[in-house]
Amino acid sequence: MLLIACPFCGPRDETEFRCGGESHIARPGPAETVSDERWGDYLFNRANPKGVHLERWLHGHGCGQWFNVARDTVSHRVLAVYRMGDPPPKDLTP
């Protein structure tokens, strides 16, 4: 089980959290200028890297806050935790 350090509550068991998928996905716009291909890419295609993955997590059984986690998909290690709206740590940006 992962031990995730919620930016508000500190280290908690993985069972208290929910993973919300890849982070930092910007909605393309304005809508009338976006091609179907680009829109489909925004809706359905995700990075799925082998290595550092930036993802959103929700502390659902705790403070109810969303935040970002940088996780290594190979070792399952949590490399960094940062708040919603903050940019990812520079050395971890894919």
Binding site: F8, C9, G10, R12, T15, E16, H61, G62, C63, G64
Partner: protein, 216 residues
Amino acid sequence: MAEIVLRQSPLDHLSLDARAVAEPGPAGVVAGERRFVAKVNLRGDPADEAFVKVAKGALKVFLPTTPNTVDGKRDRYALWLGPDEWLVIGAPGTEGRLVADLRKALDGIVAAVTDVTEGRTVIRLSGVHARETLAKGCGLDLHPRAFGRGRCAQTRLGKANVILHQLDDAPTFDVYVERSFADYLWRWIEDGASEYGFAIVAEPIMAALKARRATR
């Protein structure tokens, strides 16, 4: 607020009062239900000075901004639930006035006041083995160096979502459990505590035991 005549605590069917003892003796864990404790969910921006000042004035306790901490004493507490969310605790039967006072005071300020009294009940656990009993089903580090008096946490206990609040160093814990999980959690606690010696006390006796411990 529910009509008093219809009001039932989620643990009433267990007839805990009938099993309550006057003197828990050497029991390692003493537990009882605190029925109908007033609970009000309060949301607002802690960076908004007007909100903080007005809430403090209406509640007579500070809204803690340090995560997982509590301010208050006896029967009025404010528990930190999130960066913009608190659970305000009051004596049984005071929720109506508490909500009315808060709404009136916070008029014109961006805030939300919600009476959540009926949503949860409170199980109070006390005794030298209360911490070990909780630790059997809780991922949190409950050791005094990590969790102590005046701390609270929303977490999982067994399979139930709970809010834990440690009141003193006895240690005494209040466990706020959702209504539909109350029966399950009570049985879980009783099972977990049985190896330490388990005694049920009625609510007023629990208050007296606490007072006696304090004077010792």
